[in-house]
Structures are given as structure tokens and as C-alpha cells.
């Protein structure tokens, strides 16, 4: 069964901490995405990556960075966590050039910053 795995389901971090959210896919997908989901705001794209070592800003990149050193792994980094980054974070992947296949999502990481 193909999978996108997010390393943590729930995380609690302190304000100012550097936070790493990890996402691994086993489908050999080139494209990977990080979204955050908040009530009333829907899904908002933070960053995406077309391939290894490539990254593009999404709609809300401020306060975040990403790393894609290997094809299967896409990491989201909160440089200095703040309470307004408390959210559900969703990782997704997709085969390049295959918009009609849709995304495969991970189970999400619910991050609370205190």
C-alpha cells in the first residue's frame, strides 16, 4: 500500500524553538507539498518541491523553510516557532506531470506551540 508518512501525529513545542516536521513517501513521486489547515481558512500551501533540492514558495511561506535532500523526504522547518503556527500540517505528494492522479496525503501533524 503506497504511503505518505508524517513522523509525528501530535507535537507540542515552546515558543522560539526550532521545529522539524518530517514527511516520507514511498511512491517515487517527484512533487511534494506542505499545507497547513486551520478552521475557516481551509488548506493553505506553505511550500512545495518539484524534485530533489528544488523548492518553491507557496501562499504562506513566512516563518517556514523546507529541505528536500532526498527524493522521498520533504522536511518543513519552523525556524522559531510562534503561537500563530499552531495548526494541522499536512504533507502530500504527487507524480510529476500527473495532475489527474491527485494527491496522496499523510495523516497530518497537529502542532501546538505554547
Amino acid at each position: 500500500d503506497v504511503k505518505v508518512t508524517q513522523s509525528s501525529r501530535y507535537l507540542v513545542k515552546r515558543t522560539g524553538e526550532k521545529v522539524f516536521l518530517e514527511c516520507v513517501q514511498d511512491m517515487d513521486h517527484e512533487n511534494m507539498f506542505w499545507y497547513r489547515q486551520d478552521p475557516g481558512l481551509g488548506l493553505r500551501l506553505i511550500y512545495f518541491s518539484y524534485d530533489v533540492k528544488m523548492k518553491e514558495k507557496g501562499d504562506i511561506p513566512e516563518g517556514y523553510s523546507v529541505s528536500r535532500e532526498k527524493k522521498e523526504r520533504f522536511s518543513l522547518i519552523l525556524e522559531s516557532a510562534s503561537t500563530n503556527q499552531t495548526s494541522m500540517y499536512l504533507c502530500a505528494s504527487r507524480l510529476r506531470g500527473r495532475l489527474n492522479y491527485g494527491y496522496t496525503f499523510g495523516s497530518g501533524t497537529r502542532l501546538t506551540v505554547v
Partner: protein, 112 residues
């Protein structure tokens, strides 16, 4: 530009009755359209997709959707709701070369 509007933020049905979740889209090009389902504290799961083949698309768990170009709609239906269908549903539009757009979501409640 692309956009997607889910016409109801909440829908409540009784178990065993039909489900209708409404989605309208706007696109200057031929879109791919998707419905995803999200159960509480879970990721999104693909229910079904339209990709310019058959206009009536069947998905998992008895759901189906009909692409109506003249009405720019892609409504999701199911003949008989089950308690396990209670979840949030997202309509999504993708066009090559443009950003994928997610609808705001429709929360489905199923009453016993």
C-alpha cells in the same frame, strides 16, 4: 484563473437517506476535478476524480459525482448515508500549469 466554491459549509442527513454535497468551479481551461474526504484528525483521502473521460465518476464507499460543464458543477452524491460517512469533504480543481485550488470544505453530519 481557477476557483472552487463549496456551496454548503455544513450538511446534515439521516442515516439511510441520500447525500448531496455541492461544488461549483471556475476554470479557463479543462480542469481535473477531485473530491477528498477527511475524517477527524486524519489526512485527506481521495474519493474520486474527473479527468475529461466519463462525466459520471464513481468513487470509493458508494460515492459518485457528475461533471456538468454547462453548470460548472461537480456535485458529490451517495444514495444512502452511513454513520461512517460523517467527515469533512473537499472539492478540488487542478489545471496544468496552475496552482491546485481546494474548496473550503463541507462538513457532513449523519444522524442515527
Amino acid at each position: 484563473a481557477q476557483s472552487v466554491t463549496q456551496l454548503d459549509s455544513h450538511v446534515s442527513v439521516s442515516e439511510g437517506t441520500p447525500v448531496l454535497l455541492r461544488c461549483n468551479y471556475s476554470s479557463s481551461y479543462s480542469p481535473s476535478l477531485f473530491w477528498y474526504v477527511q475524517h477527524p484528525n486524519k489526512g485527506l483521502q481521495l474519493l474520486l476524480k474527473y479527468t475529461s473521460a466519463a462525466t459520471l465518476v464513481k468513487g470509493i464507499n458508494g460515492f459518485e459525482a457528475e461533471f456538468k460543464k454547462s453548470e460548472t458543477s461537480f456535485h458529490l452524491t451517495k444514495p444512502s448515508a452511513h454513520m461512517s460517512d460523517a467527515a469533512e469533504y473537499f472539492c478540488v480543481v487542478s489545471v496544468r500549469g496552475f496552482k491546485t485550488i481546494f474548496g473550503a470544505g463541507t462538513r457532513l453530519f449523519v444522524k442515527a
